[in-house]
């Protein structure tokens, strides 16, 4: 309930209604209570709203929060991330998660903020390509752990050249304040951060939505990271890095006028150091030159010379209305940091191990007029591509948003839809769902248009769908060349075997009837088959040459020759 409504209700008191007296008291209490509700309390009561539903999903989400935290910390300080994840089963739906990184470590002053204060890291309208918080953040994990087990989160952290410390952390939910206990200085040298927390009501599964698959995909999209994982059964998997350079850090950009709301204008104005609204608009927005400013001036009824800290709601509305009418140049796109074609190629080759692979990073473009974005697509076929379900191999779509794997809400996602709307038969993929195929889609933007609070699906922005479809068609065509070529080669081999297997039966029968030598019949028939297939071989050889030429000319495609173990085209192996 908002304060405005309460005021309205209290005004009823003047009517002399006795009942209303009680209502007013109750309302006042409610208001007080509401104020005391901290973010942490709110979180406690609304877990579902932030994607914390489903036992398997929650555990994967926890791993995601810790790993994202580690990756961000490493990248910002120029360290190649080494992350170690362990999950131990302590009882029924009761697990302990331990994540250790080689990052910069956190000072004692900041540990509480990082792991014990909700929404501490969120910055207002930071227009920068980032992994972002998809759910609850590390502090959310701390709170979830203490809510479900009553136990604190244990943290060990050390900075370069300083002594490492260990501590136990809890959160005071009504004040959203971290509480540190058992703070100790350790003797041993350790740089990095290790966090260990227990959770109840969660479940580990070795499935497409499990932590293992999450980490596998994380390394595919972050080839500079190395992650090892030990599952509750003690099985250890190491995903090695395939790239030793750190990705370039994304830069923050000014918002484009087409990508802001009324509320944004007011809050940005309050934080602005400019002396006039004109100066504020000029400084804080992308593509806001003198000409555009003139256009805004013509369209508003107040003086642009006024203090930006004092912009009224209706004035902000006028500005937004003006922004909508004016033709701005599209936003700058140089702030986007794709993974890169070569990098994706290398990591998919090392981790998925397909027979064929083709990658494409599209040029950046803009959606909804104001947000730059870019898509990266890879198609992997054969070999280790696709998802193994028992004996069968199914097609899989690996979705990413700014390098973060999206494992849930697949059906609602624009990236999935773009894959489904492609006519794959044109690329010799007859039965998409049952093909050994991995489709990799990375969506990069300064602002990801998620469909819900769970942040696992991307909204159907027209431009996003179109870009994905274009990239899928271009890579699909290349895959089609390879797949149809491979199918034909297989058919010829089958033909040879089919003729050969009948020869002994025929020769035996004919030899019994005619007394002719079985051996010489056999030799002659085999020669005959080879002679026939040689003609077809010649066709096949020409075919091969053509296909190889096509694919060799393309540096973004790799064909793995199973006979020679690995045959890479030009660029691929550099």
């Amino acid at each position: 309930m908002s304060g405005k409504e309460i005021k309205e209700k209290s005004s009823k008191k003047s009517n002399g209604d006795e009942k209303s007296d009680i209502i007013v008291k109750a309302a006042a209490n409610l208001e007080k209570e509401f104020k005391e509700h901290s973010v942490a309390e709110f979180f406690k009561k609304n877990k579902q709203m932030i994607g914390l539903y489903g036992k398997v999903r929650t555990l994967t989400m926890i791993v995601h929060e810790y790993v994202t935290n580690s990756l961000d910390a490493c990248e910002e300080t120029g360290i190649l991330p080494n992350i170690d994840v362990k999950i131990d089963e302590l009882g029924e739906e009761y697990y302990e998660v331990t994540v250790t990184d080689n990052g910069p470590g956190i000072s004692k002053e900041n540990v509480g903020k990082a792991f014990g204060k909700l929404l501490a890291g969120t910055k207002f309208h930071r227009l920068k390509q980032s992994r972002g918080q998809q759910g609850i953040g590390c502090a959310g994990c701390t709170l979830l752990s203490q809510m479900t087990t009553g136990k604190p989160t244990k943290i060990i952290t050390g900075k370069e050249g300083a002594k490492a410390i260990s501590l136990e952390l809890t959160i005071d939910p009504s004040h959203n304040e971290p509480k540190m206990n058992e703070v100790k200085e350790l003797e041993k040298d350790f740089r990095g951060t290790a966090v260990r927390a227990k959770f109840k009501g969660v479940l580990y599964r070795d499935s497409e939505q499990g932590a293992l698959e999450y980490l596998r995909r994380t390394v595919i999209a972050n080839p500079h990271a190395q992650i090892s994982f030990r599952d509750p059964l003690g099985q250890k998997t190491v995903f090695k890095r395939t790239q030793t350079e750190l990705p370039e850090l994304a830069t923050e950009i000014k918002p484009h006028p087409k990508g802001v709301t009324v509320d944004d204008i007011i809050s940005m104005g309050k934080r602005s150091g400019a002396r006039s609204v004109a100066g504020f608009l000029n400084n804080e927005f992308d593509r806001m030159g003198a000409k555009a400013l003139d256009e805004v001036k013509k369209r508003v009824d107040f003086d642009l010379g006024k203090d930006p800290k004092k912009i009224e709601w209706d004035e902000a509305e006028q500005i937004i209305k003006a922004f909508k009418q004016i033709d701005f140049i599209a936003p700058t796109t140089d702030s986007l940091r794709p993974i890169g074609e070569k990098q994706i190629q290398n990591s998919l080759q090392a981790i998925v191990k397909p027979d064929f692979l083709t990658v494409m990073t599209r040029k950046p473009t803009v959606y909804a007029g104001g947000y730059p974005f870019q898509v990266e697509i890879a198609i992997a076929f054969g070999g280790g591509a696709g998802r193994k379900v028992g004996e069968e191999t199914k097609m899989e779509i690996m979705r990413f948003a700014n390098r973060v794997p999206l494992l849930f809400d697949q059906g609602n996602c624009a990236l999935t839809k773009s894959v489904q709307t492609i006519d794959w038969k044109r690329y010799d993929i007859k039965d998409l769902d049952n093909s050994p195929l991995t489709v990799f889609v990375n969506f990069i933007s300064v602002h990801i248009p998620y469909t819900g609070a769970g942040k696992q699906a991307i909204a159907d922005e027209e431009e996003v769908l179109e870009e994905c479809r274009l990239a899928l068609m271009q890579t699909g065509r290349k895959a089609g060349v390879y797949i149809s070529h491979r199918r034909r080669a297989g058919e010829n081999q089958q033909k040879r075997l089919m003729f050969y297997k009948y020869i002994p039966e025929i020769c035996k029968a004919l030899s019994i009837i005619t007394k002719a030598s079985e051996d010489s019949l056999k030799k002659n028939m085999e020669k005959m088959v080879l002679a026939k297939l040689k003609i077809e071989d010649q066709k096949e050889a020409e075919d091969n040459a053509k296909t190889e030429k096509t694919l060799a000319a393309d540096e973004n495609s790799i064909v793995v020759d199973n006979n020679k173990k690995e045959k890479t085209k030009k660029e691929g192996k550099k």
Binding site: K495, M498, F499, K501, Y502, P504, E505, I506, A509, L510, I512, I513, T514, A516, S520, L521, N524, M525, K527, M528, V529, A531, K532
Partner: protein, 381 residues
């Protein structure tokens, strides 16, 4: 891939005169021709007559179906033929073996004798009898003979009852009368060639062929064959080769008219047409199996009204309707009477079984229906 088609002249020698030795020789020649081709590294060939509707000719003058003159050639180096080619050589070898050792076997036995897993594969030489049966027919046509001359036979089906004396030359020259074998009669063998079964003599005046075993038994229980001086054959559905051959021989050799009694539906009528004019599958052998002079007694759609059987009709099923429509288009059904029957059946969508006559009385079929129809010569052509 369609097998190669071409027109050639048929063998002129009549099948009945060919000895087993000569058949064996023909198979050997075919095999030798294949060996010769392989020696020259040419694709070996096997030639046979094309079968099925597209190569069946209705000879109105002779009154039966004949095989046309289209041949097909099967070659080894053809993806679509290779397996069948292999199977053909196996059947050739086995048939030659039977002929030279004077053995006979059922077509099921030859299938089991030849079925085995092909080395280094999960594939069998024959996956089912439905694969070996057509190859046997291919071979029959290729060496211009009938199955019986390959010392092969199908499972026997069909029964003979009545005053006719037979002599089994293959079994101690047993001589017996088919009315003295008890109520079950004589089981018709699948091979009833004259050199094996001789028709010695008979006092019967006609041969009645009945579709169902139930009617066959009913008529014997009522003493029908004796009272009406007839022979009785029960086909048990579609007449088997041996049964058709025997009907043909009884008609030719004992000079008896043949009357056919089936259910009143497209299936029953087709049984009649196969006895009379031959089948599409065995069009090549019609000359020795069909009885163009055979007449049809019933059941007819008119019988329903005539004998007041409205209460015991059945609905035609979709398959019956489809079959009736096909039959209306066959050249050998192009006469007023049969077009009329088929049309009535399709209009009313009814069928009438032989046993529906029991609705009158159990013996009605023997005491009234058949005698009246035969006395009044109330037949369909």
């Amino acid at each position: 891939m369609a097998e190669k088609e071409k027109k050639v002249k048929k063998h002129s020698k009549t099948t009945e005169q060919v000895s087993p030795k000569e058949i064996a020789e023909r198979i050997k020649k075919t095999a030798e021709s294949m060996v010769g081709q392989i020696g020259k590294q040419q694709d070996p060939e096997f030639t046979t007559m094309q079968r099925g509707k597209s190569n069946v000719v209705w000879d109105e003058k002779k009154g039966y179906l004949e095989l046309g003159e289209k041949e097909v050639t099967r070659t080894f180096l053809n993806i679509a033929h290779a397996r069948k080619f292999m199977q053909t050589t196996l059947i050739m070898q086995k048939a030659q073996d039977y002929l030279s050792h004077n053995k006979t076997a059922s077509i099921r036995e030859i299938y089991y004798e030849l079925k085995h897993t092909i080395a280094d594969t999960k594939e069998n030489t024959f996956e089912g009898q439905d694969e070996s049966d057509p190859i046997i027919v291919d071979l029959e046509h290729s060496v211009d003979t009938i199955r019986e001359k390959l010392n092969l036979h199908a499972n026997p089906k069909g029964t003979l009852y009545g005053d006719v004396t037979l002599l089994d030359r293959m079994h101690n020259n047993d001589k017996f009368n088919a009315s003295k074998l008890g109520r079950g009669g004589w089981s018709i063998m699948s091979r009833v060639e004259p050199e094996e079964i001789e028709l010695v003599d008979s006092n019967a005046e006609y041969l009645l062929v009945a579709e169902t075993e139930a009617i066959f038994e009913r008529l014997i229980e009522e003493g029908f064959p004796k009272k009406n001086k007839c022979l009785l054959i029960g086909t048990g559905g579609q007449a088997a080769r041996g049964t058709r051959r025997l009907i043909h021989r009884v008609h030719k050799e004992l000079d008896l008219p043949v009357y056919v009694f089936t259910d009143g539906d497209p299936y029953g009528w087709y049984i009649y047409s196969v006895i009379k004019q031959g089948s599409m599958a065995l069009a090549a052998h019609s000359e020795f199996m069909s009885v163009p002079e055979a007449k049809y007694i019933g059941m007819t759609i008119d019988d329903i009204k005539e004998y007041d059987l409205q209460a015991v009709t059945e609905h035609m099923k979709e398959g019956d309707i489809k079959r009736a429509k096909e039959m209306m288009a066959y050249p050998w059904f192009q006469n007023k009477e049969w077009q009329d029957q088929l049309k009535k059946a399709l209009d009313q969508k009814v069928r009438i079984e032989q046993q529906a006559l029991a609705n009158k009385r159990l013996d009605f079929v023997a005491t009234h229906y058949l005698p009246e129809k035969i006395r009044n010569k109330q037949f369909l052509p």
